[in-house]
């Protein structure tokens, strides 16, 4: 035996944090093997299809489904009349899945069919006869709030015209509304009148934000099945399975315990799957009536027509500052086009007001929103949740104010930017804050100051190509958002005899890479390679509760939950090892699949061997732990104040453009971003997240435009709804500011929504830098830009309903 062999093996320290780790689901997706809901078929399954309204706003006089019912191969045809126990759905409970007596938008569901094939179901829809009586269409929110405007959800009247007296506490779907206002939000801190009095300059402008939609590559779909005992199994693409389990139970009037939701791999969410839509409830009705599984899949056109949009907003912003560059006040009024029904879009003010009140230090802030019913499509939640809209306005005003007082726009921003330790007027408390670093880093890496100066100087030189550079910054929740009673997530962790880990988490994977990052965090604690982990995350009967994928919360919340479970497993393992090998727990550690001496790295025992010893003994034990993480955030009070997130994310992006003054075409040439992400966990994942977000922001800024005229969608297809294609994607230079958040998992903060937020605002500033022309209305399509450059765009002004 030689000396070398006697020496104990030493495992060198290593870390997975910050490494470039390929997404665990990437090989399957890249090779086309992933089984999406489209690929799942149950034996005995029927195909569901929905008949949508042929009118925008009308009374339904009669529906005749007899011919459809008689068509061979048709199992079930339902209308509202067949479902007497329908309950209103949606954020404001203002519509029925199958419309009762009245249609209010193009997407409205009138009848549904379950048949042996999609073709038969389609043919059956064509046999359904509906008689309508047209009502006036309100397609403009400004018309909808005018006194005397026709009502979208009128209170019901008896045949003699008298008011029907309905019970208190009834939903809007039953009792109607006396006006077209779906929701109001009013927020204030400080006193804007005083703020304005202290101002040296004041600017006021109206901004108009358009309709765009998520364009998930996987269209919406669901399979519903009732078993012989009446239990429901749903294959659903929801982003919030636990909330929806409860909600579906309510709509079906059954115990939530009888609902099980399995999520197949989801082909894109971006917020679109945060609400329950009529098709899902209708699919359940069909399955219940048919006593067979029913599968419903949207066509691409239907995906455009019947999935939610980003919230369109008309916004008038009044901002002021002193000559020395101190911000004094902001006053904001917005008109949200609610569409015909209320989904999450109406609640975007929750996020918008945070940007106005707290992105920069502003002593006086006054914010008001009215979300008004129209006969347009209804808006849901969409990555950024109102923040793209708010940032578009606020960051243009930052440039405009700086120009008015003759101050450098960077200096102006830095003077007003938040710092760590501040508590804002809205009660948000910034424990970690890399905002100033974001601004200076993005400016430096893009050479912002020099280019901005040169571009402005070159504006009037000959040539049709004008170069521009613009900056915008953002603040967004990065540590969850306490909206529901709990903002938590549970984890169950089990280790097998070979030191493999099964990580059972409530957090859903929707393509954002959560499986990979959660595995990484667990492996970091347990000293194992990523390949040791299997993630189970898609079945409400197995996984512990989680509030859902939203608010950029998964890495932060589910990450802390996974770490909690891993730490418990680790301390159990170390306790066992310490006892067995006669040392102290704190002298041991886990590394490379071994229990080691913490100080020297010397191997004590192979982890899998220790686990087997623990298992196969008289007092057999397994390592299985659970953890539930609830962030230390609080609910907002009635005035929308409170520290709703455990951490806040910051970012600054600089956009460079070339504007062709002959055509109005804006080419985005480069995006430089600096993001305070707390800490980079999976570098590959976070780069992908940022790049994807930038492209989404680019589409919002330049090309995407869902055209609605008189309630009719003009371009429900990828030919005329223009997503950004590969050749247009700009060069990107992304820097990460690691502010090491004290509460974040390994110091990280959420960053899912952040990268799409600033692009439109920065592009507006870049166009102004290139051409001297300010644009207040998105998107910057060639014709819009050309018109603006040629003085063909009348100044937009919307007079707020209560401008004090």
């Amino acid at each position: 035996m030689n000396v070398a062999e006697k020496k104990a093996r030493v495992i060198e320290p290593d870390s997975l944090i910050g490494k470039r780790i390929p997404k665990m689901d990437a090989p399957e997706k890249a090779s086309g093997r992933t089984r999406y809901i489209h690929d799942i078929n149950l034996s005995g399954q029927l195909y569901g299809k929905i008949l949508r309204s042929a009118r925008i706003h009308a009374l339904i006089k009669s529906i005749d489904v007899s011919a459809a019912r008689a068509l061979p191969g048709v199992h079930v045809v339902i209308t509202a009349a067949d479902i007497p126990d329908q309950r209103p759905i949606g954020v404001a409970k203002d519509h029925f899945p199958l419309k009762v007596g009245r249609v209010r938008s193009q997407r409205d569901e009138i009848a549904a069919v379950a048949a042996e094939s999609e073709e038969i179901a389609e043919a059956a829809l064509k046999l359904i006869k509906v008689e309508y009586e047209d009502l006036p269409v309100i397609s403009n929110p400004e018309d909808a709030i005018k006194p005397g405007a026709a009502l979208i959800h009128p209170e019901p009247h008896g045949a003699d015209g008298s008011h029907l007296h309905l019970k208190q506490g009834m939903s809007i779907a039953h009792k109607g509304k006396p006006d077209n206002i779906a929701m109001r939000f009013d927020y204030v801190h400080g006193d804007v009148v005083q703020g304005e009095a202290e101002s040296d300059v004041v600017v006021e402008d109206t901004f108009k934000l358009h309709y765009v939609t998520h364009c998930c590559m996987g269209v919406s779909g669901m399979i519903a099945e009732f078993d012989a005992s009446g239990n429901v199994l749903m294959y659903s693409n929801t982003q919030v399975p636990f909330l929806h389990k409860r909600e579906f139970a309510e709509y079906l009037n059954i115990d939530p315990a009888r609902i099980r939701i399995i999520q197949p791999p989801i082909g894109g969410g971006f917020g679109s799957k945060l609400d329950i839509y009529p098709f899902e409830v209708i699919c359940l009705y069909l399955a219940r009536a048919a006593k067979r599984p029913v599968k419903m899949l949207f066509t691409r056109e239907e995906e455009f027509l019947a999935s939610p949009t980003r919230q369109p907003v008309l916004l008038t912003l009044r901002s002021g500052c002193k000559k020395d560059g101190t911000l004094t006040f902001r006053q904001v009024h917005t008109l949200h086009d609610n569409g015909a029904y209320t989904s999450w879009g109406a609640t975007t003010p929750f996020v918008m007001m945070q940007t106005f009140s707290s992105l920069y230090r502003v002593p006086h802030c006054d914010y008001h929103t009215a979300a008004v019913y129209t006969n347009n499509p209804y808006a849901g939640s969409f990555r950024g949740y109102g923040n793209l809209q708010a940032t578009f306005a606020i960051e243009q005003h930052m440039d405009m104010l700086a120009e008015k007082i003759g101050m450098d726009p960077l200096e102006f921003r830095l003077k007003n930017a938040q710092d760590a330790g501040e508590v804002t007027g809205q009660g948000m408390s910034f424990k970690s804050c890399g905002f100033k670093d974001c601004i200076t880093t993005a400016a430096k890496r893009s050479d912002y100051a020099r280019k901005a100066r040169e571009n402005a100087a070159n504006r009037d030189k000959p040539g049709n190509i004008k170069r521009g550079i613009g900056m915008a910054s953002m603040l967004h929740v990065g540590g969850g958002a306490k909206i529901y009673p709990s903002d938590g997530c549970g984890t169950i962790l089990k280790m097998d005899d070979f030191a493999n880990v099964t990580l059972i988490t409530g957090a859903s994977e929707i393509g954002q890479g959560s499986e990979t990052v959660l595995s990484q965090l667990v492996c970091e604690e347990l000293g194992l390679p990523i390949s040791a982990v299997t993630v189970v995350n898609n079945d409400t009967a197995i996984t512990p509760w989680d509030v859902g994928v939203h608010a950029s919360r998964t890495t932060f919340i589910a990450g802390n939950s996974a770490i909690g479970a891993a730490k418990k497993a680790k301390s159990k393992i170390l306790a066992v090892a310490a006892k067995k090998y006669g040392t102290a727990e704190d002298e041991l550690d886990l590394r490379g699949g071994f229990v080691i001496q913490a100080a020297s790295g010397e191997v004590v025992v192979e982890l899998s061997k220790l686990l087997r010893n623990l298992h196969f003994q008289d007092k057999a034990e397994l390592v299985m732990t659970t953890f539930y993480y609830e962030p230390p955030s609080v609910h907002q009070d009635k005035g929308f104040k409170g520290d709703v997130s455990a951490a806040y994310a910051w970012g600054s992006q600089v956009v460079e453009v070339e504007v062709d003054t002959d055509t109005g075409i804006v080419r985005m040439t480069k995006v430089t971003g600096a993001h305070d992400v707390g800490r980079v966990l999976n570098r590959l994942g976070i780069e992908g997240q940022i790049e994807g977000g930038v492209v989404m922001g680019q589409g919002y800024a330049l090309t995407e435009d869902l055209l609605i005229q008189n309630g009719v969608m003009k371009n429900p297809n990828f030919r005329d709804y223009k997503l950004v294609t590969a050749p247009e994607i700009p060069e990107m230079d992304i820097a990460f500011i690691e502010s090491m958040d004290g509460e974040g998992p390994q110091g990280a903060k959420g960053v899912g929504e952040a990268p799409s937020i600033c692009i439109a605002a920065a592009t507006a500033n870049a166009i102004a830098n290139a051409t001297g022309v300010r644009m207040f209305e998105l998107p910057f399509t060639p014709e819009k830009v050309y018109r603006a450059l040629h003085g063909q765009t009348p100044k937009l002004y919307w007079k707020p309903w209560k401008a004090e």
Partner: protein
């Protein structure tokens, strides 16, 4: 749903035109127009669906005397990559390069682009300024009958041509450009790939000693059909391309077109673009 009863894939031109005789036939080439149009219900597939992709007489790109012949089945990719086209008809390569995406270019054919007769069809504008003619085949009696027609008279409206239901397009013929020939194409859209033209412009002619003769100008997406612009051509004919002439011709072009508003652009913007891009192209030609 369709009325499709019968699928036929002829392997010779004779079989194909014979089949066309009763007129109740839908012709399928690359299917890149037909598939989306029939799925959206805008086009009904008739009694017989005839796939022409196995007919050898419809393929190939060849030099025949002083003409280049492009078979109806030539795909956009084939045209773009073909040495004859690259050498003699660079303006057609330019148009193909801005056509859809690789996938569509690999499937879509020139015959399909011509017969679809879209005002925004991208090969049609260069073909018009190159004086192309369409070759048609039919079987009125028991014998194959072929004739040609100038492309400039072929289109009658969106999706409508002078081709009868019994005729098949077998190819296009393009005279070899003479010495001093110049030609340019420009497609304007919101994005560089996968876009339908908001407008497109083709300009061609013979440039000798700074003077342009045999002027050809064609515009896409500003009228119910892709069209030659007679007044603009007249204004250009025999002119020296100095700044004043270019400005004058661009203004005439703007006034000559009668576009409409649609989801892609307003008529006003289209007219502006016709002006600006005509000016840009002519300036390029002047520098050639």
């Amino acid at each position: 749903m369709t009325e499709l009863k019968h699928y036929f894939a002829p392997t010779s031109l004779d079989q194909a035109v014979e089949c066309l005789k009763d007129g109740d036939v839908t012709i399928l080439a690359g299917g890149t127009d037909l598939t989306p149009q029939s799925q959206a219900g805008r086009v009904k597939i008739k009694h017989t669906l005839m796939n022409i992709r196995h007919i050898p007489q419809l393929t190939g790109i060849t030099l025949e005397g002083r003409e280049i012949h492009i078979g109806a089945l030539a795909t956009i990719t084939e045209i773009m990559e073909h040495p004859l086209v690259r050498q003699h008809l660079p303006v057609l390569v330019e148009a193909c390069d801005h056509f859809a995406s690789d996938q569509i270019r690999n499937a879509g054919t020139i015959g399909g682009n011509i017969c679809n007769a879209s005002p925004a069809g991208d090969t049609l504008i260069p073909l018009l300024v190159l004086d192309a003619s369409v070759e048609l085949a039919s079987m009125p009696e028991a014998k194959l009958y072929r004739h040609t027609m100038p492309l400039s008279t072929f289109f009658v409206g969106p999706g409508k041509t002078r081709k009868s239901l019994c005729e098949l397009v077998t190819g296009v013929r393009i005279p070899l450009p003479e010495q001093g020939h110049v030609a340019r194409f420009f497609k304007l859209g919101t994005r560089p790939a996968l876009d339908i033209s908001t407008i497109s412009i083709g300009v061609a002619g013979t440039l000798r000693d700074g003077v342009l003769s045999n002027a050809r100008v064609a515009f896409g997406a500003v009228a119910p059909t892709p069209t030659r612009a007679a007044q603009t051509e007249q204004a250009l004919e025999g002119q020296r391309l100095d700044a004043a002439t270019i400005e004058k011709v661009a203004a005439i072009a703007r006034d000559e077109v009668k576009p409409i508003d649609d989801v892609r652009a307003t008529a006003w913007y289209r007219k502006e673009m016709i002006h600006n891009i005509t000016k840009r192209i002519l300036s390029h030609v002047a520098q050639a």
